[in-house]
């Protein structure tokens, strides 16, 4: 499998390099769908220029990257294109290896369950075979590298690519079972943007499953493991934050980075729900709705963890999706990360209900974003409502996609327990509903 992967990497790098050299790169780095005030490359350059002028980059409101990012780009600013291509390659390879390992475990669990006769007889067609699972890792890497969203994000030099790389490395280290590395990468991801904090729960569940620790509140081993992981996570987070303090000598970056992510002062349009909502918010209710929207991102962690405690990798996928949809400054780079996981659930296709509608809406919205932006900002013949409407549609489509996959996953699990062809009391074919 190394050869096809190498070929894929070569193709991806070529496409990106070609776009870097063309005139489109300037155009793409200005698109609001691809870059946000948190991730724009122009702002990184501005921060470095402010540092050269002797002014702290956090004294203004233009620069919102973490100090480690400044430090990294202080040395790498001349090799920025290579850095971002390398980040994409790292993400793809990490996801490839992670999914390969995960597939092995899925297959092994399935084998044990089959031997223990846990599946009803008529659902044998739901059992997965190694042959169908063979190309899934390559498809995951391909879905990530050749996704137009990822390519746009890379060509725009949005630092979202670096965030994705760190999260991919976190997923890889979690799936390989390395507790320390998992904690370190998770703390790096949380340090960059606060939202990956919710990935703690699936990581804990997976690592406990792997170490055969039962997920039971009454067991001491459960709590002991949580304490260990929390210690490693919080310790590395503390080290990173103190390191950032010593880099620039002040705590200015805390309100500039984390205060900015949480309080959303910059209302630059993007593909998310926050900007227009807070542009039109009554001042009296601003704080209330800000809290509601931010809690909304973290709120689904516990219920999803309870429901999906046997399937932590699907939980990671769900959490990534919830973060990408409901975070304060989303970009298409965030979307491409969770979309890369879709081939892993390709066996659910027979239970998906809305996939045609969702894919049509996503394609249409992706095409309409630049059109309506141009009409609003340049032509002046539309107003902000047009762009906002497409934002709403886009997010509804994403929500439908995620809930559709969740439905399909749960339904397959139900069939694996109760059988595929269910009959009603009078013997006729039954329909399943959620009640």
């Amino acid at each position: 499998m190394a050869a096809p992967l190498t070929l894929l990497l070569l193709v991806a790098v070529t496409v990106r390099a070609a776009l870097f050299r063309s005139s489109l790169s300037e155009l793409i780095s200005e698109r609001v769908e691809v870059v946000s005030p948190l991730t724009a490359w122009k702002r990184v350059i501005e921060g470095l220029a402010l540092l050269d002028l002797g002014v702290s980059p956090y004294s203004g409101d233009v620069f919102h990257e973490t100090p480690l990012t400044i430090y990294l780009f202080h040395f790498l600013v001349d090799y920025a294109e290579v850095t971002f291509m390398l980040a994409d390659v790292i993400t793809a390879v990490a996801l490839y290896m992670a999914v390969k390992d995960y597939n092995k475990q899925v297959f092994r669990k399935q084998k044990f369950a089959l031997e223990a006769d846990r599946y009803p007889l008529d659902c044998l067609e739901l059992i997965r075979s190694p042959k169908e699972m063979y190309y899934i890792p390559l498809k995951v890497a391909m879905f990530y590298l050749l996704n137009p969203f990822t390519i746009l994000s890379c060509v725009a030099k949005s630092t979202c690519g670096l965030n994705n790389a760190i999260i991919a490395l976190f997923i890889l280290s979690t799936i390989k079972g390395n507790v320390l590395l998992s904690a370190i990468f998770l703390s790096l991801a949380t340090y960059q943007s606060i939202y990956p904090l919710t990935l703690c729960a699936p990581a804990l569940l997976y690592l406990m499953q792997r170490q055969y620790i039962p997920v039971n509140f009454r067991r001491a081993s459960f709590w002991w493991f949580i304490v260990q992981y929390a210690f490693m996570y919080l310790g590395s987070l503390f080290v990173i934050i103190c390191l950032s303090f010593f880099l620039l000598g002040s705590w200015d970056y805390l309100p500039s980075v984390y205060g900015f992510i949480l309080s959303v002062p910059d209302l630059t349009p993007n593909i998310g729900l926050f900007w227009y909502f807070f542009a039109e918010m009554f001042e009296h209710f601003r704080l209330f709705f800000l809290c509601v929207f931010q809690i909304n991102v973290f709120f689904y962690t516990i219920p999803l963890s309870i429901k999906l405690k046997e399937h932590p990798v699907f939980l990671i996928f769900m959490q990534l999706a919830v973060i990408s949809i409901f975070k304060s400054y989303p970009t298409v780079g965030d979307i491409s990360l969770y979309m890369a996981f879709l081939p892993v659930w390709s066996h659910l296709h027979r239970f998906l209900r809305n996939i045609f509608l969702v894919s049509c809406v996503l394609l249409a919205c992706s095409a309409l974003f630049p059109v309506l932006w141009h009409l609003w900002i340049y032509a002046g013949s539309a107003n902000s409502n047009f762009y906002y409407a497409i934002t709403l549609l886009f997010n509804v489509a994403q929500i439908l996609l995620v809930s559709d996959y969740f439905y399909a996953f749960l339904r397959r699990e139900h069939h694996l327990t109760y059988g595929l062809y269910l009959k009603r009391k009078d013997g006729s074919e039954a329909t399943l509903v959620l009640k």
Partner: protein
């Protein structure tokens, strides 16, 4: 206001009870009017009124003896520990290329610069109170000055001060009346009689200003007194109100005549600039006057005809009769081109990004000189300092000093100060890219599609002059040439203001707050609802529900205790 006419004869007033106005070598109260016909055919008139006030705040805490100094301003100085204050209200833009340099430059709109005493600790609170009080005194909406449009430059304005150039203010009669009230004679006697609002505001350029600063009484500067200068600069348009014949008189310009001199004024003069009329070919003054005066103004030696209003003889002859027939000069190129000139404009299209271009012209044939450029840009135009380029004659010209303070959203504006060396006979272009922010719907002005004003940039410089300057400081000099002292004998201080910019920002739809809140919350609820369903419900086999009749029968059967159908 204690504007009573008191003849200063200090020797008869016992000291100790109130402050004593000492006899000084410089007259306490002067007023003058300078009329200068411009090459473009307009007439530039500049009024200056100066009042001196002897008082020392360190010795007496409560000052009650204001004499000719307006009490409202005196109280402002003492209460807010003000060291120096400059406030100006301007309507119109000074066209340097057509009109030359003004005696006192001022940007369009309102501008307020204040220097506080060193003993003041809470600058921000005092600044806010001061702007509110001045807003009341001058009937101007200066109370919109707050931290979001105030800057503290490090180099441009010496002495160091805190300043603000507000956005577009319409200057009107309500601002002129309180300004006139501050004059010792009000608008009842002296030159202030000519200040009638209809004619003054029907002009191409109108600027009124108040400057308060401490001045030295003697050469050793052991004691200081407060000087209040009120200036009014107006440029009348010949073609606008000419009636065929190019003949001007005081009555035609101001629709008022001079009735009497101000009794408290020690000096009240009218100066007419006749430098371009040395042979009498352009215009002819009637009545003629034998008094002539020469002064070096803005690096140029000018000759003036003087009419002294304190002499009764003058009064008798010029009352209603001062005529100034002016023929329109066909060759405007004769005018001495201003050595320093600046323009500014916004480039780019669309509502996302833009570029500010500032052009500075150095018209000196062989000397280059440094200029200090001060730019204060509001926070909603996010400047990118790494895109700053300064080019002269097509080549890169790196500024020797840059002080940049980036803006903080909704707290303070950008401040950019640069020291640029302008090569001789060249145009220097400074470009800076910016991004336009989307504001909250309550932060827009009532007419958001009009755009937002960006205050003028200030370009200050010591310009080498073509004519050597007279260094004799102690003589009495006309007010308009003594405002900015300059130490070098061959250069003079110039401050140029550029045009204000009008920039459009993208706007949200103002009619939609409730709709937007509902729609966005609906989308969040769709997400919540789908996930809630999937989390709390489980799959069950659906039994077909029986028909309505059967269901009612089943209910009755349940009540009877009989098994259902």
């Amino acid at each position: 206001e204690a504007n009573a006419v008191i003849i200063p004869q200090c020797s008869h007033i016992p000291p100790g009870r109130r402050g004593c106005l000492m006899e000084t070598t410089v007259s306490p109260n002067k007023e003058e009017l300078v009329i200068r016909p411009l090459h473009s055919g307009d007439i530039y008139t500049s009024f200056q009124f100066r009042t001196l006030w002897e008082t020392d705040f360190t010795r007496e805490n409560k000052v009650s003896h204001y004499r000719l100094f307006p009490k409202s301003l005196g109280q402002v100085i003492s209460k807010f520990s003000v060291r120096e204050l400059h406030i100006s209200f301007t309507q119109g833009y000074w066209r340097t290329m057509q009109w030359g340099q003004p005696y006192l430059p001022s940007p369009p709109g309102a501008e307020l610069w204040v220097w506080f005493q060193d003993s003041l600790t809470d600058v921000d609170g005092t600044w806010k109170e001061l702007t509110n009080v001045l807003s009341g005194i001058f009937c101007a909406s200066l109370n919109f000055i707050d931290s979001t449009n105030t800057v503290q430059p490090s180099a441009s304005f010496k002495p160091l001060g805190i300043g603000n150039v507000t956005d577009h203010q319409i200057v009107c009669t309500e601002n002129l009346t309180p300004w006139k009230k501050l004059l010792p004679c009000g608008s009842k006697a002296g030159l202030a009689v000519l200040l009638k609002s209809e004619k003054l505001f029907h002009s191409s350029f109108h600027s009124q200003a108040v400057h308060i600063r401490p001045v030295c009484k003697d050469d050793q500067c052991k004691t200081t007194s407060w000087e209040l200068r009120q200036t009014l600069n107006v440029v009348f348009d010949l073609h606008n109100s000419g009636q065929g014949k190019n003949e001007w008189s005081l009555f035609k310009m101001f629709s008022r005549t001079l009735t009497e001199a101000c009794p408290v004024a020690s000096s009240s003069k009218i100066y007419i600039d006749i430098t371009d009329n040395s042979q009498g070919e352009q215009f002819e003054l009637s009545p003629a006057t034998p008094l002539l005066s020469q002064a070096v103004v803005l690096g140029d030696r000018r000759t003036f005809s003087v009419y002294d209003l304190t002499q009764q003889i003058t009064f008798g002859t010029i009352c209603n009769v001062l005529k100034l027939p002016v023929t329109y000069s066909a060759h405007a190129g004769d005018m001495l081109r201003p050595l320093l000139h600046a323009e500014r404009y916004v480039a780019g299209y669309g509502l996302q990004t833009g570029e500010i271009h500032t052009l500075m012209y150095n018209n000196h044939p062989y000397r280059s000189f440094p200029v200090l450029l001060l730019d204060s840009v509001p926070w909603y135009l996010r400047l990118y300092i790494h895109t700053l380029t300064v080019t002269s004659k097509g080549k890169d010209n790196k500024p020797s000093y840059i002080h940049y303070q980036p803006s903080k959203d909704r707290v303070r504006p950008h401040l950019l100060e640069m020291l640029v060396q302008l090569p001789p006979n060249s145009v220097t272009e400074v470009t800076l890219q910016f991004e336009r922010a989307l504001l909250k719907w309550t932060e827009y002005t009532p007419d958001p599609n009009h755009g937002f004003y960006v205050g003028s940039s200030v370009i200050s410089s010591l310009v080498p002059s073509i004519v050597a300057m007279d260094t004799n400081n102690s003589r009495e000099r006309p007010l308009f040439s003594s405002f900015f002292p300059s130490k070098e004998e061959s250069s003079y201080f110039v401050r140029v203001y550029t045009e204000p910019l009008l920039v459009n920002l993208p706007t949200p739809d103002f009619s939609m707050p409730y709709n937007v809140i509902c729609l966005t919350c609906t989308v969040v609820a769709v997400g919540y609802g789908s996930l809630y369903n999937l989390l709390t419900r489980s799959f069950q086999i659906e039994e077909p529900s029986p028909g309505l009749a059967k269901r009612i029968a089943n209910i009755i059967r349940k009540m009877r205790g009989v098994p259902p159908l």
